[in-house]
Symmetry: C2
Subunit: 145 residues, 2 copies
């Protein structure tokens, strides 16, 4: 079983600087002082991210050309690696397609990707720097700059 939540929406873009400028023009304020290669935006209990398309493809463990629908991902964050593993297993058991088995990743967390039968890509992740609220919501910590 997976919890009924989306905590992070990631938009893959070919030009991150241009994408940040576009969303800034819309009035969106980036969280913190900004990071290299990714931009985060706090919403009400969830986060929107902008991420390079090639980086997103690499993060999903597949070629950029195959992204299509998957160039937008839906993420579920969890408190523990065991919960990530369980959610990933539940997705495959339900008929989801394995993209990248959950594994320790360079930013210090644990992440996997699966796709539903219509190509929509979900990430399941544990980020030790992003504590989860009891209601399954995600609020960026002040230190996430």
């Amino acid at each position: 079983m997976t919890p009924q939540r989306v905590t992070l929406i990631t938009l893959g873009v070919t030009d991150l600087a241009a994408a940040k400028a576009f969303y800034a023009a819309l009035g969106w304020q980036e969280h913190g002082k900004g990071q290299v290669g990714v931009a985060f935006y706090q919403m009400h209990g969830a986060v929107l991210a902008l991420f390079g398309l090639a980086d997103l493809a690499a993060d999903q463990g597949r070629p950029e050309a195959t992204l299509g629908t998957g160039a937008a991902t839906l993420a579920q964050n969890f408190a523990t690696e065991a919960e990530v593993d369980a959610a990933y297993a539940a997705a495959l058991a339900a008929g989801g397609t394995a993209l990248k088995a959950p594994q320790k990743v360079f930013w210090g967390g644990y992440s996997g990707y699966w796709a539903d039968p219509w190509g929509h890509v979900w990430e399941v992740a544990m980020n030790p720097f992003w504590p989860m609220a009891a209601d399954g919501s995600l609020t960026l910590p002040d230190s996430a700059e």
Copy 2:
């Protein structure tokens, strides 16, 4: 300016019944008694929807074959039509692509679609049956069955 929120994520699928069965197998519970042609799932202050791919293309005012990334949409709900118009205008002013100008739609609300320069599709909508909370969050009313 547009508010920093996503209140509805819609996944376009080729077989809605199969999609509902897939998400049910994952443990997701559909809101209310179910509607014909669409399924809604309450999250924390936001909603996930499953919708037929052809219906989604029609709703966006373009052919199904062109959906690609747009087969997942990000929606911002508003309290008034004027706010929808303002958000749509702000998107075009920022460089967004017009897909469908905000207009009264068959389900009793008011909706438009625009795409960011990377093809990510946003819906801006006013749904008189879905009241917005002060914090910009969306909770399905009990009557939405």
